[in-house]
């Protein structure tokens, strides 16, 4: 069983919700990202989505765009992202890491090189925002034999005919996009999300985790109540934007930055 599936199974058995923060690797610099990842785990993160910075993040809102720009100004490459995972893994053998990003950096590295590096450093899954499952045959050939999970997005606009193929291609969990729009926008239609997730439940046993638009404890409770848990990106990246590049973040700085994750953790702890 993959590290992601083990984590999910343990949470399910304990009737707890999963909490998945997203941050951009290299924002504001590589050392701080590594320190933040450990701080996130201490604050209650179950899985970490580590963003691969890209120059043209067309599915992201301003907050994450700026995070990617900061990381790229630091010169962060996909090799650096792998390096951050390797260093993290040296001190944390249990928290799964999902590499999330856009296709071009992975395509340029090459699927085989990407998959073998990801396996070697101890990453657990991949989520490529702009690569639909039916374009993934070659990628699957590279990542599946190495035990990496493949996570896909389901959107409010996803048609019934696509749902079946997304469920069939997904392992680990399903990422349900809460809104029509980009990361960091506001959720407007809770009722629709609830019925869509209930429908998804009839099609798959995979955990369904809701992301996009979760910015605080209240919105996290709303979404976690109707799903298996939440992904929090922009709210965290916004806090990271206040950290200074290059300087050593003090334990207090780190705690303040991940406070939003800690507060969401305690808020979703009582949902049954």
């Amino acid at each position: 069983m993959s590290r992601i599936s083990q984590t999910m199974a343990a949470l399910r058995a304990a009737k707890r919700k999963v909490l998945i923060p997203y941050l951009v690797a290299g924002d504001p610099d590589k050392g701080t990202t590594l320190a933040l990842m450990h701080a996130l785990v201490a604050a209650g993160a179950d899985i970490i989505e580590l963003g691969i910075p890209f120059s043209d993040p067309s599915s992201d809102g301003t907050v994450i765009q700026l995070g990617a720009e900061r990381a790229l100004r630091e010169g962060t490459t996909l090799h650096d992202v792998m390096d951050i995972v390797r260093q993290f893994r040296a001190h944390d053998a249990t928290t799964p890491i999902v590499l999330m990003g856009y296709l071009n950096p992975i395509e340029i590295m090459g699927y085989e090189a990407f998959a073998s590096a990801a396996q070697a450093v101890g990453a657990d899954g991949v989520l490529i925002v702009d690569m639909p499952a039916y374009e993934c045959a070659e990628l699957f050939d590279a990542v599946r034999p190495r035990g990496l999970d493949t996570v896909f997005l389901v959107a409010p606009t996803t048609t019934q005919s696509r749902l079946a193929s997304i469920c069939a291609s997904s392992t680990g969990y399903l990422y349900y996009v809460s809104l029509k729009g980009v990361t960091g926008a506001a959720i407007t239609d809770k009722g629709d999300i609830k019925s869509k997730i209930e429908h998804l439940r009839t099609m798959t046993d995979l955990p369904v985790v809701v992301g996009f638009g979760i910015k605080d404890a209240a919105s996290a409770v709303d979404m976690a109540s109707i799903s298996d848990g939440v992904i929090v990106g922009s709210a965290l990246v916004d806090a990271i934007s206040r950290l200074h590049r290059g300087g050593v973040a003090t334990p207090d700085d780190l705690a303040a930055t991940v406070a939003v994750i800690a507060s969401i953790r305690s808020a979703i702890e009582n949902i049954k």
Binding site: S58, S59, L72, L103, I108, E135, L153, R162, V177, K180
Partner: protein
Amino acid sequence: MSTVKPEQVVGATAADPFSGPDAHGHFGRYGGVFVGETLIAAVEELDKVYTTMAGKPEFWAEIDRDLKFYVGRPSPLYVAERLTAHFGGAKIVLKREDLNHTGAHKINNTIGQALLAKFMGKPRIIAETGAGQHGVASATIAARLGLQCDVYMGAEDIKRQSANVYRMKLMGARVIAVESGSRTLKDALNEALRDWATNVDNTYYIIGTAAGPHPYPRMVRDFQSVIGREARQQSMELFRRLPDALVACVGGGSNAIGLFHPFLHDTDVSMYGVEAGGDGLETGRHAAPLSAGRPGVLHGNRTYLMTDAAGQIMETHSVSAGLDYPGVGPEHAWLKDIGRVNYVAATDTEALEAFRYLSRMEGIIPALESAHAIAYGCKLAAQLPKDRIVVINLSGRGDKDIHTVAGIDGIEI
């Protein structure tokens, strides 16, 4: 004019390498649908609607009517006699897309796509623009059909194409400055994709070139193919034969594929796509992904890109805003790999020189984009015997560029 319609056959096969794309939008390994999940349903719906409409003669009849009475087509095929005499080789012939309403080929595409938007019941259109020509063409058709129109334009381009910004506003469009990334065309495209994902229910996205996710490359090609169909027929009428060579500038590749596509099966017709060589290919400061880039994935399709070794999209450099784009339509990537079209580059200096000599020798001020095609086309003609015919696509007129060129001359207008 010719009413031969775009091929209904889809899928490039060994037997016919020019019949692409296949059902998933592939031209060989290029093309496809690489967008976020939120937009997949929208592009799939568009593909369905377009495929249905493309099979209806009434749809093309309505487009033909608009092209004739609103755009002013057919655009002439003009023999540039002084230019021909000056270069002393093949006959230089210009396809005059600059004479279209709004001054460029871009309107051929917006007429078609706006009709789809109307048919799909979308009250709002959005567009990205670099030089402003596609933005103007979108604002124009939106005004005529009574649609709301928002145009995304890089803040950098807003500065260098201020006349077009004002034209768009005059026609009731809103021009939204894009401050992210390199603040040029690629970033305008990103921002338009974000808008579309957010407003997908009421908004139609008119992509301005033969790139983006399937079905855009096919659709834009089909709408622009009127250029090549006319040129073919006009060449037969004027010269009783087909041209020997076709030359067009390549930004995203829409005017080039529009000219080339109806001639792809004519193996005696050679083709040249001219990219923006900027300061020179050897300097790295250019916008020539086919000449000096590598395959990757951006803006919905797999194609040749200007991408660095880490997979980041590089900043491009060109004197012409409309060619300042790091990607290119996927059909061109395919035509390059199979060797059907030659892709070459003209530098800023060569384009500016062509801008000046075409103005002086023929009384035609070309768009800086088109000046790249003129520069290469004249060089080519000079090397060919006098009995050959070279058709150069004059994709647009240069009114929008006089500030840029005057600025280079140190003159303030």
